[in-house]
């Protein structure tokens, strides 16, 4: 895509416009051009230099073996990608990302929706509960992760104490390879459900109240009201939240670093933490870039696919 003036032949029919400016175009051509030449380049330059070019370079670097110094010369073709997909740790990372997505879709969003339904009505303490549930969202993932690292701590943590109350010795949750990832998932749900709850409340508030009144007069049960009125009318909000929840699940990183650093035995690595641990800290730029390319391809494929299918009418 060109980032300077496009040839005059290209009409802009592709992009629908409903702006009011075009009509006055001829009279103001000079100020017009000057403002475009002054106001656009900073954004275009920054975006190109720090977003688009690095992304293109990731593709370029991914076919080399390179330690980041000098210029990449050792062309290896698709070797980095082959190594990547054979790597058991990367496969596990991929699987963990799938787990994050599942926890989000099956626990976090339904929980958020349920609470939104409970809290959309003006009942006592509504605002207090909403604020409490939103609170974890404003914490940085790093802070939330460290707080829970304490909660899970086998010697000092709350979990240890809870087990002790029942006369048992608590497990070191984050040190058990079989358990650690589930502990991470719980924190992820804990941190983000309140955010999605707020989005759902906003969506619920837009539903016309008279529909509920009509449903009640017709004698609809609570479940019928929820499944026949609330869910269909909340559809576009739900589809949008699923979109963002999945995209952010694919990129999970900060929380992992704060809770486990990817351990024990790489059992809690996600794709981004894998990229960090095996690409960046080892300065294996080609291999790490290949991870980035895979990650990027997944995000783009998902985003396009989802927008074309699920969100087609939104």
């Amino acid at each position: 895509m060109s980032d300077t003036t496009t040839p005059a032949g290209t009409t802009s029919a592709a992009s629908p416009r409903s702006w009011s400016a075009p009509r006055r175009r001829s009279a103001r051509d000079s100020g017009n051009t000057a403002v475009a030449w002054l106001f656009l380049p900073p954004a275009l330059l920054l975006f190109t230099i720090f977003v688009v070019v690095p992304m293109g370079e990731a593709v370029w670097y991914s076919v080399f073996k390179w330690n980041g110094y000098g210029v990449p010369t050792q062309f290896v073709g698709t070797l980095n990608f082959e190594l990547l997909f054979e790597d058991p740790v990367f496969r596990l990372s991929l699987f963990n990302n799938v787990l994050v997505i599942l926890a989000t879709l099956l626990i976090q969003l339904p929980l958020a929706l349920g609470l939104a339904v409970l809290l959309v009505d003006r009942v006592p303490l509504t605002t207090t509960f909403r604020l409490i549930f939103f609170l974890p969202y404003i914490l940085a993932e790093v802070a939330a992760g460290l707080i829970w690292r304490f909660v899970y701590d086998g010697d000092y943590g709350l979990f240890a104490k809870l087990w002790e109350m029942f006369g048992a010795v608590g497990p070191h949750v984050l040190a058990e390879p079989d358990m650690a990832i589930y502990a991470v998932l719980a924190v992820s749900v804990w941190k983000y459900f309140g955010f999605y709850m707020i989005l759902y409340i906003a969506g619920l508030q837009q539903i016309d109240r008279s529909l509920y009144e009509a449903a009640r007069i017709d004698g609809a049960s609570r479940w019928q009201v929820f499944s026949r009125i609330t869910m269909p009318l909340l559809g576009s909000t739900v589809r949008l939240t699923i979109f963002f929840a999945i995209l952010s699940s694919i990129q999970k990183f900060d929380l992992i670093m704060a809770l486990t650093g990817g351990g024990p035995n790489d059992s809690t690595q996600t794709m981004v933490s894998f990229l960090y641990s095996y690409g960046l800290t080892r300065m294996d730029i080609g291999f790490g870039s290949a991870v980035g390319v895979v990650l990027f391809a997944m995000c783009v494929a998902f985003a396009f696919g989802y927008k074309r299918t699920v969100m087609r009418h939104d």
Binding site: A21, T33, V35, A36, A43, L115, L135, V151, S289, G292
Partner: protein
């Protein structure tokens, strides 16, 4: 009189209070307990924390907090984070409001393509390009500088903020522009004297989104900063935890102090912040 409104809403209207409040209370506890325990834990000695992690401290150990507040480390981390977040916000507001203004007010060939080009950024997770970005920042000599974090942050936030500005500018009445042009006001003056003053709500929204993202950012500063005098607080708190990993009481007080600014600001400007953060995610 029955209150019709509360019984006609989103499907939970006539629910018995027990059914409504039991789950709410349980979840509120799960949300609050870890945070409260963190703050209280900071007031305990290590020994007490071990036997009594839940309850109030028997002796309030102000020393933990006091030592951190009296030392330079905490303030340096806060200062670095504040400088970086402020620079990121200011630069983002300037660059993206200008670009959005052009996309709305100026018609030129290819403008639609340029907009789509930038909106591609909505799909780029910063993490995917972090290695080439690291190389780029290194080659530009910006490792261990504030700009090495600020400029990429601005760049990666542009798509969202330009979109938000554009949507807002579009709904400003077109007659304003018409009238201003007749009065001899040019594009630049119109932007500065009319568009921006009318856009305070969206400026605030974008500022909140960008500030929070920068304040909480971890990956980019982690990659760019080697010198710990430049660390932002998420890096600092991780390093602190690494150093004092078994002194949980100190770590907890440090965590409590680092999340304090965010919590205070949140409660004092909660309406704006909730609006800002939620509108940021309604990108489409």
């Amino acid at each position: 009189m029955t209150d019709l409104h509360s019984s006609e809403m989103a499907g939970s209207g006539r629910m018995p209070p027990v059914l409504r409040y039991t789950p709410l209370l349980v979840i509120a506890l799960i949300v609050l307990v870890p945070m409260v325990v963190t703050v209280l834990g900071g007031f305990k000695t290590l020994g007490e924390l071990r036997v009594n992690p839940f309850g109030l401290p028997s002796d309030w150990e102000w020393k933990n907090y006091w030592d951190i507040l009296a030392g330079a480390r905490y303030w340096q981390l806060m200062g670095n984070s504040l400088i970086i977040a402020t620079l990121t916000v200011v630069l983002t507001l300037i660059v993206s409001s200008m670009a959005a203004y052009v996309f709305v007010q100026v018609r030129f060939v290819g403008s639609g393509y340029l907009l789509n080009y930038i909106l591609l950024g909505l799909m780029f997770p910063a993490a995917t390009a972090i290695l080439p970005l690291f190389i780029k920042i290194r080659d530009l000599g910006m490792l261990d500088t504030y700009w090495g974090v600020v400029l990429p942050q601005v760049a990666f936030g542009l798509a969202t903020s330009i979109l938000l500005f554009r949507n807002y500018f579009k709904q400003l009445p077109g007659e304003l522009f018409e009238a201003a042009l007749i009065d001899g006001c040019g594009y630049f003056r119109f932007f500065w004297h009319i568009t921006l003053p009318l856009s305070k709500p969206i400026l605030a929204t974008v500022a909140v989104i960008v500030f929070v993202a920068s304040w909480n950012a971890y990956l980019l500063p982690l990659v760019v900063f080697n010198r710990d005098t430049l660390y932002t607080w998420p890096l600092g708190i991780m390093a602190y935890q690494g150093e004092y990993s078994t002194d949980w009481n100190l770590v907890l007080s440090f965590i409590a102090l680092t999340i304090l600014p965010a919590v205070i600001i949140f409660f004092s400007a909660q309406k704006h912040i909730v609006a800002g953060l939620t509108s940021g995610s309604v990108k489409g």
